[in-house]
């Protein structure tokens, strides 16, 4: 047998074929599939490797990547080199959590359901929003879903206003999502690293279903969320805030400044960077929108003997019941990543979340100061920041990044690559709680010649 996971033995195959009245497996297929649709030729794919061979093959393949365990990372812009407590994977990797499906049969999956209920509660408390769903794909698609929800809340409005300081992938995603949905997406400039609040106010109107702002924004800066909220409120649009969950260890949560929907990328909550591929879309909102929420929701209930239990709830929102009229098409979500984020938040608690956030602030500030000492104009934007900021380099930032790679640094994101022209000499760097003083000072030193 070429497939090590198939259990049928030759004897059993004979017995099973007899039971199904066939003389061969081919016959079962031929009974159902026209012969000309069956591909008899080779598929020309790479030859099989055994597990023994794959262990070496994969180890060598991974060694062809240069990752943050051998380089010192100042990368940010949405995905961060935060501390991942070792305990998380030890319990999250229990096979019941890893291999189970969406808990459609609640009695057989109370553990998963309770875990998702707790996830919802944790996010609700962190963002100070009364409702959280059980996860979406990633931060960008969470913005997309938020926009969809806003359009459902305001079926008579067909314009979305977004700040340029929202993560470029989120902006691109909303553009894609809305491209064929009869909805216009207007971008408000963020010239000096901050949303132009004036321009934002001017772009609002009673056709605007939602305003999307990120805080801290893509450039690391803290937005004038209070000022923005006031204007949004006046227009009747929904206020959608994108917020880094780690920042909420010290920053006021979206619920305190009037967000209607608050979303975010959950990777910083104990997930690996994984080239951005270990994500979870955080989605929280006000209570009044509960029945319009996209994705799974877990609710608390009772069993026949009055014991507390948990179920998937408000399923009439969902595609498998409501089909085209569903609040979203989402079925599979990012449950396991949500579970890991939950474990992270439990381990950290309020105190740990505070310490991590403060260490980010402190380290970022240390790097900023060191850079300013080298060159007083090297910080592109002056607004207060949380854990990342933009450096103005004396040559294209891509060259700086490449030069510093040779010195062992993942030196940040050249903004030209994510924001395009106009951003040539700008480098976005993040400094998490993991960076030591020596690393920060060394990096500032290494940057010196490029400022």
């Amino acid at each position: 047998m070429s497939n090590p996971y198939i259990q049928a033995t030759p004897d059993q195959i004979i017995e099973m074929l007899a039971a199904v009245d066939a003389t061969s497996i081919d016959e079962i297929f031929n009974d159902q599939i026209p012969s000309d649709l069956q591909h008899k030729d080779t598929f020309d794919i790479p030859t099989a490797l055994s597990e023994l061979e794959l262990q070496g093959h994969l180890t060598r393949m991974a060694a062809r990547n240069q990752a943050a365990d051998s380089l010192t990372s100042f990368m940010g812009g949405g995905i961060y080199d935060h501390f991942v407590p070792t305990a998380i994977m030890h319990v999250a990797n229990r096979s019941e959590f890893v291999t189970g499906y969406t808990p459609y049969q609640p009695e057989a999956s109370q553990g998963l359901l309770q875990a998702f209920f707790e996830y919802q509660t944790l996010l609700s408390r962190l963002y100070d929003m009364p409702v959280s769903n059980a996860s979406l794909y990633d931060g960008a698609s969470a913005v997309g879903e938020a926009v969809f929800m806003a359009l459902a809340v305001h079926p008579d409005r067909n314009r979305i206003v977004m700040s340029e300081s929202v993560h470029p992938d989120s902006r691109a995603l909303v553009a894609t999502y809305m491209a064929h949905f009869n909805t216009k997406v207007d971008i408000v400039k963020a010239g000096n690293g901050l949303t132009d609040v004036q321009a934002l106010g001017e772009s609002l109107g009673d056709d605007v279903a939602a305003v999307v702002v990120q805080h801290p924004n893509y450039f690391g800066c803290l937005e004038d969320v209070h000022g923005i909220e006031k204007r949004v409120r006046e227009s009747g649009a929904l206020f959608i805030v994108v917020a880094d969950p780690i920042s909420l260890g010290v920053l006021a949560p979206p619920g305190t400044y009037g967000a209607d929907i608050a979303v975010g990328e959950g990777q910083p909550l104990g997930l690996n960077q994984y080239a951005g591929g270990e994500s979870v879309g955080i989605f929280t909102c006000k209570s009044e929108f509960m029945r319009k929420v996209p994705g799974r929701l877990v609710g608390q209930t009772k069993d026949r003997e009055d014991r507390r239990g948990f179920v998937l709830t408000l399923q009439t929102r969902e595609q498998h019941i409501r089909r085209a009229k569903a609040t979203s098409n989402i079925c599979t979500n990012h449950a396991h990543n949500a579970l890991r984020a939950s474990i992270y938040m439990c381990l950290m608690g309020p105190q740990g979340m505070g310490e991590v956030a403060r260490a980010c602030v402190r380290n970022t500030n240390r790097l900023k100061s060191a850079i300013l000492k080298k060159h007083t104009d090297a910080i592109a934007f002056t607004a207060p920041v949380f854990k990342e900021f933009v450096i103005r380099t004396n040559r294209p930032a891509q060259q700086v990044r490449d030069a510093l790679l040779l010195k062992g640094y993942l030196a940040g994101t050249p903004l030209f690559e994510t924001c395009g022209s106009g951003y040539e000499n700008l480098l976005l760097v993040a400094t998490t709680e993991k960076r030591t003083d020596a690393e920060i000072d060394g990096f500032a030193e290494a940057l010196g010649e490029f400022l």
Binding site: S2, Y5, Q7, A8, V20, D31, Q32, L37, I45, T47, E51, L54, R60, A62, A63, D69, I79, V91, E96, T99, Y101, P106, E107, Q110, L112, A134, S141, D169, L173, A179, L222, H226, G249, V250, A252, A275, G276, Q300, T301, K302, G309, E318, R323, A324, A326, I330, N333, H334, A335, H336, N337, L339, C346, M348, P350, R358, A359, V361, R362, D402
Partner: protein
């Protein structure tokens, strides 16, 4: 799964064992307790926020997260795992979900720090190993489907549907055929199909299946026309039947200028044997978390790569991975791309897992997948055929639907059979889907189960039916072996409690 033993030391009506096992993490919280190990906070850091961040931005009180130790956290989630069934706990024949064994060598690959510690904004030159995996998975999926344009970006099946439909719209827009706004969808389809169509501003048009459970070509002909953007078909369909007239249906749609979308959720039935591009598919999503052995994670993440014909490839979401002549890999951003549907590159760890699986199985191993998925399903069907109504005959692909209408007459509905199966030690099959079979029980054994397990499951199914005929109440009363009994789902929806009160 533990049977509750009543112990008398009660507090808040909870026994000791319940307090050990069932409290929420919030109930376990004690003020001042911590579960982390961070470097000691330098005194000056305590005030750093006040120094560099204006006060209006600062949080007044810390978030009300639980205050628990590492040990409490580990015990808590260990208990939760004990109240959850998985594929390594028991047979999990959840139809349409392809709950096959998830090989551990996949985890070996996915767990290597050289993959897991990469940042997405790193230059391509620093992640050639990862890009090679991407490139290979793209290539292999293209070849297995004969749909050579591949994107690994979509995060799940529904996301893949949505993405392809966006591409279809872009394609028709480019052709100036903006009137194509209808998506024809058989009534056996999964709910994500119409939901995805709606999401791109298209209009789902449902057509009834014929009496064999397949596409009704006449019904199709009636609705197809200049407004047709797509026909969206699952093949094999959700009844576990191969749509043997799909090529013909595709021809009709293509004639009318429309496209054919294949929902590839059931690709496990035909992988290595039939290429959807050969039966008329123009675009298709693949659930890596079904056919390609990615674990489901209790609901996700999955991954929903899409494969399309050449002429649609330019519209694929950006970026794709290309190989240059010097053997290096790079990202490619096609200007005609519909843009981004997910941040960065998709569910990267899952692409690595799929790479491992594809490499381990190779061509013959993949063909074995569909061979034995189909053999297992047919064998299991043959064991049930006497006791249960079989709406669509004795042959099936990788899964089949039985109808418990006969049992319902005794007072035992599909849901009761499902719950009773839990007491026998199995995860139940899918129930009440597809919608066209009233008491549908949809059973998908997958190729990784053995004959003994299929027989044990069939024995349980038969026994439940037998019991039902003498003592329906016994079945209706199930499950009894679970930590909770049947739950009040209506009550939960009527008065939703979705977060724990402070």
């Amino acid at each position: 799964m533990s049977r509750r033993i009543q112990i008398t030391v009660e507090e808040n009506n909870l026994s000791v064992k319940e307090r050990l096992d069932t409290q929420t993490i919030f109930e376990l919280s004690v003020p001042g307790r911590t579960g982390f190990s961070l470097p000691p906070e330098p005194p000056e850091t305590k005030g750093v926020c006040a120094d560099v961040i204006p006060e209006r931005f600062l949080r007044e009180t810390p978030p009300a997260l639980p205050e628990v130790s590492e040990l409490t956290t580990m015990r808590h989630f260990t208990h939760l795992s004990g109240r959850t069934m998985g594929v390594e706990t028991t047979f999990y024949p959840l139809g349409s979900c392809t709950m096959k064994y998830n090989p551990k060598i996949n985890e070996f690959g996915a767990g290597l720090p050289g993959f897991s510690n990469l940042h997405p904004d790193q230059p391509a030159s620093t992640m050639q190993g990862l890009l090679e995996a991407y490139y290979q998975v793209q290539e292999i999926l293209g070849k297995l489907t004969n749909l050579p344009g591949v994107s690994l970006q979509p995060a799940a099946g529904a996301h893949g549907e949505f993405t392809c439909l966006l591409m279809a719209k872009a394609y028709f827009d480019d052709k100036g055929e903006t009137e194509r706004t209808q998506v024809i969808i058989p009534d056996t389809a999964h709910g994500t199909n119409p939901a995805s169509a709606f999401r791109v501003g298209l209009e789902p048009v449902e057509i009834k299946s014929d009496s064999t459970g397949r596409i009704d070509i006449e019904a199709l002909k009636k609705v197809v026309g200049p407004r047709t953007a797509c026909l969206m078909v699952t093949n094999p369909n959700t009844c576990g039947l191969f749509e043997d007239r799909l090529a013909e249906a595709a021809e009709i749609v293509h004639q009318a200028g429309g496209l054919v979308y294949i929902d590839g959720a059931n690709f496990n039935a035909i992988v290595g044997r039939v290429r959807p591009g050969d039966f008329g598919g123009d675009m298709m999503h693949i659930n890596l978390h079904k056919t390609f052995s990615i674990p489901h994670g209790g609901g996700g993440p999955g991954a929903g790569p899409i494969v399309v014909r050449d002429f649609l490839a330019p519209y694929l979401p950006a970026p794709t991975v290309v190989k240059s002549n010097d053997g290096n890999y790079d990202f490619n951003f096609d200007p005609r791309s519909i843009g981004k549907v997910r941040s960065y590159f998709g569910n990267v760890a899952h692409v690595v897992r799929a790479y491992v699986y594809l490499r381990q199985l190779g061509e013959q191993g993949l063909r074995d997948v569909s061979d034995y998925a189909v053999l297992n399903a047919n064998y299991l069907l043959s064991l049930l055929v006497d006791k249960y109504d079989i709406p669509y005959g004795k042959r099936c692909m990788h899964e089949f639907v039985i109808d418990a209408t006969r049992q319902k007459k005794m007072g035992v509905k599909a849901v009761d059979i499902a719950k009773k199966l839990i007491d026998y030690g199995f995860h139940p099959p899918t129930t009440y889907f597809p919608l066209i079979v009233p008491e549908a029980i949809m059973i998908e054994p997958t190729e990784t189960e053995n004959k003994e397990m299929l027989e044990l499951f069939a024995a349980a199914m038969i026994d439940i039916s037998n019991r039902g005929s003498v003592d329906a109440a016994d079945v209706v009363d199930s499950p009894l072996s679970t930590p909770v009994r049947r739950l009040d789902e209506l009550g939960a929806a009527r008065n939703p409690i979705v977060v724990e009160a402070l």
